[in-house]
C-alpha cells in the first residue's frame, strides 16, 4: 500500500506558487493512497503543458508524451496491459484543442482508463493564450481583442459521446476532487473528469474566487447520475451556479471486454517464441 511519502519524487516542483495544479496533484496522490494501489502498478500519461509536469511529480510509472496525444498513448498502454491502472493528465489546449480529434473516440470506445483534464481555460506553459474553453471575450496575447468563439463544453461533449463516467472537479476543493478521482479509477471503462484549475498567472478571469462563488456539488443536490438527459441539462448550467461532481455514470462493457483475445490477460505476458503461422501459410499455397 502506497503512502503519500512514497509518491513524492526528488524533482523540484516548478509550478507557480498558488497554481491550481497543486490541488490536482494532492487529490491524485491522495486518491492513490485511498485506493491502496501499488505505485508500480499505476501508469500516468501526460501531454505537454504545465499539467504535463505531473509525470515529474508523482513517483509512479509515467510517460510524458507529446502535446495532445494523451488518449491514444494511454489507450495503447491500457489495452496491452489491463492490469495497470492508467490515468491520463491533459491540459485544456492539450485535450480540447490540439488533441480534440481523440476525445470522442476514446470515450465512445469506452477504454478503461481515467482522463483528468487540468482545465485552466488558458495555455499556461506557452505564457497564456486562449484555448477552446476560454470564455468569450477573454483577452490574451493571441486574442488581444477578446476571444470570439463560444467556449467548448467538455462535459457535454463527453456525455454526447456516450461517456460512461462523466464528472467535473474543482482543484480548490481537494477533498471532493479526491473522491471523484477515486470513483473514476474504480469505474470500469472510460472515466472523464474535467477539473477547474485556476491558472493564477494567466487566467485573470476564472480565479479561485470566481469559482468559489459559483461551484456547487451535484451530489449534494440529489442529482441522479443515471439520467443522461438530466446530466445534459445540468452540464449546460453556466453562470451564477456551476455544478461539479459526477454528472453521469453507467455500467457498460469496456473496449477490452469485447476482445476475447485479451479479455483477461496482459498481452505482455504471452510468449512470442515459436508462433505457429502454418495455418496461414497453408491457406496461401
Amino acid at each position: 500500500m502506497v503512502t503519500l511519502e512514497d509518491l513524492r519524487t526528488p524533482k523540484k516542483n516548478t509550478w507557480c506558487p498558488g497554481c491550481g495544479n497543486f490541488g490536482i496533484l494532492r487529490a491524485f496522490t491522495s486518491a492513490l493512497v485511498q485506493l491502496g494501489v501499488e505505485k508500480d502498478q499505476v501508469v500516468i500519461v501526460s501531454g505537454i503543458g504545465c499539467h504535463g509536469k505531473m509525470v515529474n511529480y508523482v513517483d509512479v510509472n509515467g510517460f510524458h508524451g507529446i502535446h495532445g496525444r494523451v488518449l491514444p498513448l494511454a489507450t495503447g498502454i491500457e489495452l496491452t496491459k489491463p492490469s495497470l491502472t492508467v490515468v491520463g493528465f491533459a491540459g485544456d489546449a492539450d485535450c480540447y484543442d490540439e488533441g480534440w480529434g481523440h476525445f470522442s473516440h476514446a470515450i465512445r470506445r469506452n477504454i478503461d482508463m481515467t482522463l483528468i483534464v487540468h482545465d485552466n481555460m488558458v495555455l499556461g506553459l506557452t505564457t497564456g493564450q486562449t484555448t477552446a474553453t476560454s470564455q468569450k471575450g477573454f483577452k490574451t496575447k493571441s486574442t488581444p481583442h477578446g476571444s470570439i468563439a463560444s467556449p467548448l463544453n467538455p462535459v457535454m461533449h463527453a456525455l454526447v459521446s456516450n461517456g460512461t463516467f462523466v464528472a467535473r472537479g474543482y482543484s480548490g476543493d481537494v477533498k471532493h476532487l479526491t473522491s471523484l478521482i477515486v470513483e473514476a479509477i474504480k469505474h470500469e471503462g472510460f472515466s472523464f473528469i474535467d477539473v477547474f484549475q485556476p491558472c493564477v498567472t494567466f487566467n485573470y478571469l476564472n480565479t479561485f474566487d470566481w469559482y468559489k462563488a459559483r461551484v456547487y456539488k451535484l451530489q449534494e443536490e440529489g442529482h441522479d447520475v443515471t439520467d443522461r438527459q438530466m446530466a445534459l441539462k445540468k452540464s449546460m448550467e453556466w453562470g451564477e451556479r456551476i455544478p461539479i461532481g459526477i454528472f453521469y455514470q453507467e455500467e457498460s462493457p469496456s473496449y477490452r471486454e469485447s476482445l476475447p483475445q485479451i479479455k483477461d490477460i496482459n498481452l505482455t505476458e504471452t510468449s512470442i517464441e515459436n508462433i505457429d503461422i502454418d495455418p496461414i501459410l497453408q491457406s496461401m499455397t
Binding site: 524533482k11 496491452t80 476475447p260 505476458e269
Partner: protein, 585 residues
C-alpha cells in the same frame, strides 16, 4: 508451341472482380508447378473505370510482370482498345463475341488470335451474377491453354464457401468446355501457348503479396499490437491482421487517425509488446511527430511506409519511390532510426521480422519502406523458413519483478547507449520516460551537459547498430562479378531489374546489380566496394530526383554515371528497362 511461359492479362471495369480472377488464375498456375507473378492496376474508384491484372507464369523463376501480353481476357471492349498494342505476335484475346465485335483488321495488329466466348449468355444460362463472366473466361483460358481445370477447381474449393464454389466450378467448366469443344479445330490448335502441370510441384510455395508478407512477418515476430488508419496501399495489412487477430492474440485497432495510430503503438510498446503501424505518405506525415517521440523516448516501434505516387494525395493507387528522404529525415531533431527496403515478398517477410529485432535491440523506430507495386503484387515464393530469423528483444526484461540493486532507470547511461528496458507493472520498478529531454530516470531536464550526454547516448546506439548491421544483409549483389554495367536500386525495382538482367545477360555478362536493403544507416562499405569495381553505374528508381543517387553522393562522395527514372506511377517493365540500360552502355 510455347510451353509454360506466358503473360496473361485480365481487364475490365472496377468491381468486376478483375483482381480476384487474376489471383485465381495465378494460383492455378502455381499449383500447376509454375512460378507466378501477379500485379494489379486499378484506379481510385470503386466501380467502373478500367482495371487490369497481369499474371505471368513460367517454368523458370520470374521476378516481375512482362512488358507484353500473350493472352488477354477482356471483359469489355475498352480493355482491348487500351491494351491491344501490348499483345505479342501470336497472342490471343478471349472476349465476349456477342457483346463486342472485333475483326483482326480493326485490331490493327497482325497475328492476334481472337477467341470470342459468349460470356454473358453463359452466365445467364447458369442464372449466375454477371461477375461470374470472369470465371467463364478463366475456364475458357484454361481450355485454350490446354491446362488442367481440376487444379482450378481445387483452388475454387479452397477459396470459396461451398455454394459459391459450386457455381464457380460450373461456370469455369462451361468456359472450358466451350474452348475445348471448339478447340479441336479453332481454339487450341490455333494458339501457340500451352500450360502443363510440371513435376516439380511447388507444394511448398506460397502465393503471397508484399503486404501479406509484411503482415505475416509481424505475426511471426510476435507483434501483439497493430493500430492503423486505412490508406491505400497500406490498408491490406490492416485487413490481413484484423482477420487473424483473434487467432494470434493480437490487438488490431482501426484508429481514428494516423496520429492516434502511432501514439497507440508507442503506448503499447512502452507497455511491453511488439507493436506496428502502417500507412502511406499522407498518413506518414501525420505520424512524424509521434515518430520523433519514439526516438526520444527510445520506444521501439515498427512503421511500414507503403509509398504511392505523390506529392500529396497524388495517384492514390499507383506506385512510387518518392518518400525515401522523407522517411530518413522525418521529425525534428536528430535521433537514430533504421529504414529498410525489402525488394520482394520474401524480404517483406524476413526484413519485417528483422525490423522488430532491430527496433527492440536498439530501442529505436524502424521504418519498413515499400510501395504499391511491391505491397500489392503477388508472387509465388518458397514457403518461409520460420527459423531463419530468431526473436531478439535486446535488453528487455520480461521478469515480473525487478531484481536490480539500484533503483531502475529507464534511460541509464551505458557504454553502448542501450539501457535495460523493463515493462511498467514490474514489481519494484518505476518506468518513466519523457518526450522532453530527460535524465536517466526519465525526469525532465534542461541541463546543457546532460542534454549532450543524452544525445550522445542515443547516437552511441547508432554506432552499435552500424556495427551490428554487418551481420545483416544490408545489400545484396546479383549477377557476375564483372560486368559492363552495375545497376543500383532499392525496394520494388528489384523484380524488374532482375528480369532486365536476364535479358541483358543472355549472351554475355553485361550487367550486375546491387540491391540496397538498408537505406539508413547507409551501408557505406558495401556500396563502396561494389562501386569501386564497377565499370559503369546506373541507378534505377521510381522517382524523379533519384533520391538514392543523392544518398550515394552524400555518403560516398561520388556520383553514379546514369539514372533511369520513372515517375508516372507505374512500375518498370523488364524489356523497357533493359533497353534503357542498353542505351547508356
Amino acid at each position: 508451341m510455347i510451353l509454360n511461359q506466358i503473360s496473361v492479362m485480365i481487364g475490365g471495369e472496377a468491381g468486376a472482380g478483375i483482381a480476384r480472377s487474376g489471383f485465381l488464375f495465378a494460383k492455378t498456375c502455381m499449383r500447376g508447378g509454375l512460378h507466378v507473378f501477379g500485379t494489379n492496376d486499378y484506379q481510385s474508384l470503386i466501380r467502373g473505370g478500367h482495371n487490369f491484372y497481369i499474371v505471368r507464369a513460367d517454368a523458370e523463376e520470374i521476378y516481375s510482370q512482362a512488358d507484353t501480353i500473350d493472352l488477354l481476357l477482356a471483359l469489355n471492349q475498352e480493355t482491348i482498345l487500351l491494351h491491344r498494342n501490348e499483345l505479342t505476335h501470336g497472342g490471343g484475346i478471349i472476349y465476349d463475341g456477342e457483346e463486342v465485335e472485333l475483326s483482326e483488321d480493326e485490331m490493327g495488329i497482325n497475328n492476334v488470335r481472337l477467341y470470342p466466348v459468349p460470356l454473358k449468355s453463359m452466365v445467364k444460362e447458369l442464372e449466375a451474377r454477371p461477375i461470374m463472366r470472369n470465371t467463364v473466361a478463366l475456364g475458357a483460358a484454361i481450355g485454350l491453354l490446354n491446362f488442367d481445370l481440376k487444379i482450378f477447381n481445387g483452388i475454387i474449393k479452397d477459396t470459396f464457401k461451398e455454394e459459391i464454389a459450386k457455381i464457380n466450378i460450373a461456370a469455369a467448366k462451361m468456359g472450358f468446355d466451350y474452348a475445348c469443344d471448339f478447340s479441336r479445330d479453332q481454339f487450341i490448335g490455333d494458339f501457340e501457348y500451352h500450360l502443363k502441370k510440371t513435376k516439380g510441384s511447388r507444394k511448398k510455395h506460397l502465393f503471397i503479396a508484399g503486404n501479406e508478407a509484411v503482415g505475416l512477418g509481424a505475426i511471426q515476430a510476435g507483434c501483439k499490437f497493430y493500430s492503423a488508419y486505412p490508406m491505400t496501399p497500406a490498408t491490406p495489412i490492416l485487413h490481413f491482421l484484423a482477420e487473424h487477430e483473434r487467432d494470434y492474440g493480437m490487438i488490431v485497432i482501426h484508429a481514428e487517425s494516423e496520429i492516434s495510430a502511432i501514439n497507440m503503438v508507442a503506448g503499447a510498446s512502452y507497455a511491453g509488446v511488439r507493436a506496428m503501424t502502417a500507412t502511406s505518405g499522407g498518413g506518414f506525415c501525420l505520424m512524424t511527430e509521434g515518430l520523433g517521440m519514439t526516438g526520444m523516448t527510445e520506444t521501439p516501434v515498427v512503421i511500414v511506409l507503403t509509398q504511392r505516387t505523390g506529392p500529396s494525395t497524388g495517384l492514390p493507387t499507383y506506385t512510387s519511390q518518392g518518400d525515401l528522404r522523407f522517411a530518413i529525415h522525418a521529425s525534428q531533431g536528430e535521433f537514430p532510426r533504421v529504414v529498410i527496403a525489402p525488394g520482394d515478398m520474401e524480404e517483406c517477410f524476413y526484413k519485417t521480422m528483422e525490423a522488430f529485432n532491430l527496433a527492440e535491440k536498439y530501442q529505436i523506430p524502424a521504418i519498413i519502406i515499400t510501395d504499391k507495386f511491391l505491397a500489392e503484387s503477388y508472387s509465388s515464393v518458397k514457403s518461409f523458413d520460420l527459423n531463419r530469423i530468431g526473436i531478439d528483444r535486446g535488453l528487455l526484461s520480461t521478469q515480473l519483478e525487478y531484481a536490480g540493486k539500484e533503483a531502475y532507470q529507464r534511460h541509464k547511461l551505458t557504454g553502448d547507449g542501450i539501457s535495460l528496458r523493463i515493462m511498467p507493472g514490474t514489481k519494484g520498478a518505476i518506468v518513466r520516460t519523457n518526450a522532453d529531454e530527460h535524465d536517466e530516470s526519465g525526469y525532465t531536464t534542461e541541463d546543457p551537459a546532460l542534454t549532450v550526454e543524452m544525445a550522445d547516448k542515443r547516437f552511441k546506439k547508432l554506432n552499435a547498430l552500424i556495427k551490428d548491421l554487418e551481420n545483416y544483409e544490408t545489400t545484396k549483389f546479383f549477377g557476375p562479378k564483372e560486368a559492363e554495367v552495375t545497376i543500383l536500386g532499392w525496394g520494388s525495382t528489384k523484380g524488374p531489374i532482375r528480369e532486365a538482367m536476364k535479358l541483358l545477360n543472355k549472351e554475355e555478362s553485361r550487367s550486375n546489380y546491387l540491391q540496397i536493403l538498408c537505406l539508413c544507416p547507409f551501408p557505406v562499405a558495401n556500396v563502396q566496394g561494389v562501386l569501386d569495381s564497377a565499370k559503369l553505374t546506373v541507378v534505377v528508381e521510381n522517382n524523379r530526383t533519384s533520391q538514392l543517387s543523392g544518398l550515394i553522393r552524400e555518403n560516398l562522395l561520388r556520383d553514379v554515371d546514369h539514372k533511369i527514372l520513372k515517375y508516372d506511377g507505374r512500375q518498370f517493365n523488364p524489356q523497357d528497362l533493359s533497353q534503357k540500360i542498353q542505351e547508356v552502355l
